[in-house]
Structure formats: structure tokens, C-alpha cells
Symmetry: C2
Subunit: 377 residues, 2 copies
């Protein structure tokens, strides 16, 4: 157990973007399992067809609502469609490997498959962040358009190629909330000195705006808000936030989630494992990941509504919009960071250029379609 506990510390320190994982993984009892014998593919003869038994490791606690549902759904459905030719066993964070070891475990082939989010791996490859979410970036519908008809998935596969991994889009939360605050934000100056739990690029943006981004494990967040160790924390959205009880210790619930306009999650499969599959099983993996990808957004779309109503009507939560001048200021800082990082990291620059070209065009049409329609009704 000591080995796994110490594995966590540097992972958290080195600036992980792990908005959720850095937190929940620490809540999980780490059941250390023997994973030294993980073979690339346990294959058995079943009639004339090989069967595959896969381990799927995740960055979420087992059955974590919403996010952790996707790997369970994948396992259930792939067994159904393949009539048992692929059997997948899902391991929560820490059960087989720690949350932040998912990427490495699938890359090395010690397990076959993983579910998490690309921005957790920014320490290995900063460009990976574009495949989850960036401040003021694309929402779920736009990300899916980019992945499947805008060259995004091809770029993602190129970025993961050196790690022997094949990525697939693995679900989205939709636009998140800006978070829970005990300090009102009425102007840009109110960001100065703001102590907020906000990891990754969002945290960098806040720091440049004069705030102070702080990494605090999930188990301590509630108390940290209650005692004033932090003034604010971001989390996900009503469905996940309600369960956490933040409304009991924070005064304001701010929107919109500028730092994370929908986290796009990922399935990753070891490339050798994927390529060794017969064509029909490869096609099934692609179909089922696409199905599960959409399913998560469908679930959040339904459940966030119900949770928001409970938060407002039963708990009297004060829902507030961040002022536009604050959002404009944060967006300007974010663009500076993207430009600076692009100048020093060519792969980051290449992906940013492709991402932002598609994003600008998507925003152009969404301004007069989705956005205008929302406003019209």
C-alpha cells in the first residue's frame, strides 16, 4: 500500500489538470491488486473464434455517477454485441492501478483498455489537453463535430501514436458550472487574492488574473470551503455537485463553466491489442464507444436539470452569472497562454491551430443556430 500512496503525491504536485481524478481517486480505498501478470490479450478458443478478456482501468471510483457509468456501459454492451467474444472487467481508480497510472498501464500493455480524460496526461504531452477541454474552447456538440468530421480524431491518434495508444471519444459532461463561491465576483478586481481549487489551464488563467489556484484533495474540499481555507471550488455540474453537498458550505453557485465547457472523456486501447482484433470486433469497439460517448451527454442533459431544480427549490442555492467583463478578461488571458505555449511547443501549436480554426467556424454558425435559438424561446 505504501508504494501506491507515494505514487499519488508527485502526481498531484506536478500540476495535474485532474479536476476530478486528483480528488476522487484519493477518496477511494486502494485495493492493490496483482497486476504483474497482465497479459496483452487473454485469448481462448471458443469454437472457431478467439475470445478476449480485457481489463479496463479507470480514473474514477467504481460506478462514480455519470463519468464512471461510461466504462461500465462499454463493458456490458461490448459483451452483448460480441456475444461474449470480448469480456471486459472494469477496475475503479486504485483497484488495479492508481488513477493517474491509467495512461501508462494501457500504454505498456499491462492492461488492455482505460477510461479517463486526455488532459490528465498533459505532463507527458501538453497537446493532449485539447482533446478534453480548454478554457473558452468548444462545447460537446462542437468537439464531436471536430473529432468525427473535422480531423480532430486523426490528430488525437497522431498525438497518442508514440505511446502505443488508440484513443476514442468517451463521453461528455456538457457545459459545466463555474463553481461554488463564498465571495461575490462583481468585477475583475474581485479575482485578486481569490483562493480557488481549480486545476490545470483554468488554474493558470486564474493565477495570471491575480487569484491563487490551489490543489486540494476531494476529501478535504468540503471542510476547506467551510473553514475558509479556500474561497471557491469548481466541480462538475448540478448532478455531481448535489451529491457532494457543496451547497451546505458555499453561498453562491456561479455559471458558466468558462474553464471547462464540457469535459470530453476518453477511451484508450493499447494499439497492439486493438490491431490484433479481427475486423468485426474492431468495428464493434468503434460502434460501442460512439454509443457510450453520446449516452453520457444524454444522461447529464437529463440529470443536471433535475438536480438544479432540487438545489434551487429545496436548498435555496443562489445561482449567479459571472459578469461579462470578468469572462472577457479571463478569455484574453487564456488566449495569451495558448499563444505562448504554441511558441515553445510545436505539437501544442499544431493542435491549437487545427482546434481553433474549427472552433471559430463552429462558433460562427452556432451564434445564429443553437445560441440564437436558445435566446429566442
Amino acid at each position: 500500500m505504501d508504494k501506491q500512496t507515494t505514487n499519488w503525491y508527485p502526481a498531484i504536485i506536478f500540476g495535474l489538470v485532474a479536476a476530478l481524478v486528483s480528488v476522487f481517486a484519493l477518496l477511494v480505498v486502494e485495493k492493490s491488486a496483482d497486476h504483474s501478470n497482465g497479459s496483452v490479450a487473454t485469448q481462448q478458443q471458443n469454437g472457431d473464434q478467439k475470445t478476449y478478456e480485457w481489463k479496463l482501468v479507470t480514473t474514477w471510483p467504481k460506478n462514480f455517477p455519470g463519468l464512471g457509468t461510461a466504462p461500465e456501459n462499454f463493458a456490458r454492451i461490448i459483451e452483448d454485441v460480441s456475444d461474449g467474444r470480448i469480456k471486459v472487467k472494469v477496475y475503479g481508480a486504485g483497484e488495479l492501478v492508481p488513477a493517474l497510472a491509467v495512461f501508462g498501464a494501457v500504454s505498456s500493455g499491462s492492461v488492455e483498455m482505460g477510461h479517463g480524460a486526455a488532459y490528465y496526461w498533459k505532463g507527458k504531452v501538453p497537446a493532449a489537453q485539447f482533446f478534453t477541454a480548454i478554457p473558452f474552447g468548444m462545447n460537446a456538440q462542437e468537439m464531436n463535430g471536430w473529432f468525427h468530421y473535422g480531423g480532430g480524431l486523426e490528430l488525437w491518434r497522431e498525438v497518442y501514436e508514440p505511446f502505443n495508444l488508440v484513443p476514442f471519444s468517451g463521453g461528455s459532461t456538457g457545459v459545466q458550472m463555474a463553481g461554488w463561491f463564498n465571495k461575490e465576483i462583481n468585477a475583475v478586481d474581485d479575482l485578486k487574492g481569490l483562493k480557488m481549487r481549480i486545476p490545470g489551464l483554468g488554474g493558470e488563467v486564474l493565477n495570471r488574473a491575480g487569484g491563487s489556484s490551489i490543489n486540494i484533495p476531494g476529501g478535504e474540499l468540503y471542510t476547506a470551503l467551510q473553514t475558509g481555507v479556500i474561497d471557491a471550488t469548481e466541480w462538475v455540474g448540478p448532478y455531481n455537485d448535489l451529491a457532494f453537498g457543496f451547497h451546505q458550505v458555499a453561498e453562491y453557485y456561479y455559471y458558466p463553466g468558462w474553464h471547462e465547457p464540457g469535459a470530453m472523456l476518453e477511451f484508450i486501447i493499447n494499439k497492439d491489442v486493438y490491431e490484433s482484433l479481427p475486423a468485426d470486433l474492431q468495428a464493434m469497439v468503434e460502434s460501442v464507444t460512439r454509443q457510450v460517448n453520446q449516452d453520457m451527454l444524454d444522461e447529464y442533459t437529463a440529470r443536471n436539470n433535475a438536480a438544479l431544480i432540487e438545489l434551487k427549490n429545496q436548498h435555496g442555492v443562489k445561482v449567479k452569472r459571472l459578469p461579462q467583463e470578468v469572462l472577457d478578461h479571463l478569455q484574453a488571458i487564456a488566449k495569451d497562454i495558448y499563444a505562448e505555449t504554441s511558441a515553445t511547443d510545436p505539437l501544442f501549436g499544431k493542435v491549437y491551430k487545427a482546434y481553433s480554426t474549427f472552433a471559430e467556424q463552429a462558433a460562427d454558425y452556432h451564434l445564429i443556430s443553437e445560441e440564437a435559438y436558445y435566446e429566442s424561446r
Copy 2:
């Protein structure tokens, strides 16, 4: 051929909602095929597994961009994932049966599967319209949430049960455009006397606002706009509209598409056929339809952007927003129509109640998530 030609006329007359089908189907050369011998399932022995050869009839011309891509994708992918156990041959509108005979052909079992839109069948069951789109209703993300986590799909299956059909969501265009106009709309009064090609519920709303909804076959629309027979027409969105050349004969391109906030299309399968499938093939059909359902929105999200840029930059199209007072007026009329129809048609009323309950909650959260985020950037 006479028989099929006369089949069209009453179909168009009886107020079809068939925004696209009423039009394109008439453009298609109707290749009358012998469909008297259509058996429910052509099954062959292949080793120890049965194989299925299905006919899939559609309400679109063969390979019609966007809408017609979905059935082709379904056919290709289901053959891949099933390793040839299900083979699907796609027929465009009029090739085997006329577009508006799709529902009946699948219902009777003369073909196994269809692709179209539920609101085309409002003459058989008015409640079907909720499963495609209604004026000021839900957009694609909300419809998917309702179908898959809000009870919508179960209701849809209940509505189609008497017709021996199993429906699946079959792709969405996203929010459409309000259409092409040669008359400026600056106030509610400008709707009076407006001659517009707009079918279905949208047309009913326009008529009550003092306009005049006109059904004109697609092949005549371009000339009708050019000669002033109509003042305006709705179609889909930039990707499909650009190909049609409406920008050459209309002055203004209005948004947002209040009458059709994203058409959700459908796959329908004959119930006996579906239930006769082994469990793994049923699971494949479900996976692949979900995959194709998402894929269409992804494609429109990418391609509408590019087409809009071409319309604006190369063709100088004037893109204009309908005034909010006009939209408010149209929305009030739409709600009156839903209430009146609910009072006389219990099934319509039942579905409307479920639909609107989910829609109001979804709008509540989207106001502070998707909508607020669009506005913030």
C-alpha cells in the same frame, strides 16, 4: 407507374409535415420495383448462424447529403459489426416505394426497415410529431436526453406499437435556419399576407399569424421564389441550402429556425423482424443506430459552418435575425395549438405533457450552461 404517381397527390394535399420529403421525393425518378415478394426476413444458413438480408426504404433520394447518409452508414456498419450476418440494401425514395409509403411498407413487413422522420406520419398519428421536432421545442441535445434518459423513447415505442414498428432515433440536423426571404420581417404585421413554403405545425402557426403557408414541390421552389409566387421558403441549414442555390433568388437568410429546432430523424424496424433477431444482433442494431444518430449531428455541425462561410463570403448573403417580438408572437400561437390539439386528441395530449415537462426542465439548466456559455465567449 400511374399507380405510384397518383399515390403522391393526396399525400401532399393532406397537409404533410414532410418538409423535405414532400419535395425531394417528387424530384426522384420513381423506379417501380417489384415489392410484392418482400418477405419479412430472408434467412440463410451460414455455418451455424442465420444471416439476414434486409431492405431499407427511405424518405430521401439515394445518398441525399446529410439526411440520406444515415441509412447508408447504418447499412455499411451493421454489415461490418455483424461480419455479414445482417446485410442491408438501401433504397432511395421512389425506388421501391414512394417516400410517404415508407411507414406502411415497414409496418406491413413488405420491407424490414425504414429511415425518415416521425412527423411525416402525423396523418396516421398526430402525436408522432413530437418525436421529430415541434415549433419552439427541444434541440438535438435535449431530444437525445429525453429519448434516452427521460422516457421519450419508451413513449415513442408505445405510440408506434399499434403499427407493429420499433423506432430508434436516427440522426439530427441541429437547429435549422428560419429560411430564405424576399420580404423583410421587422414586426408581427410583416407576417400578414406572407406567402411562405412551410409545411406542418410551422405552417399552421404562420397561418394563424396571418400568413399563408403554401406547399410547393422542391423542383418548383427555386422558380417560385424567383418569380414571386412565394415570398419565402424554409429548408434545412447552410449545408443543404447552399447546394440548392436559394441564395441566387432570395435576398435574406433568416434565423433562428423556430419552426424546427433540429429535426430528429428515425429508423423504424418491423417489430416481428426485430424480435426474431438473436440477442447479439438486436444489441448491434441498437449500438449502430445510436452511433449513426450521433454521427449525423457531428456531420452537420462541421459542414454547416463551412457552408455558411461560403454563403456569406462568396455569395454575399444577408443573414438576419427574426425580431424577438415576432418570435414571441409565433411561440404564443404554437402553445395555443398544442393546448387545443391536446384537448381533442388524448394521445397527443399525453405525449405533449411528457415532452413539455422534460423540455421546461432542460431549458432551465441550458439557460445557465450551454446558452450562457455561448453568450460568454
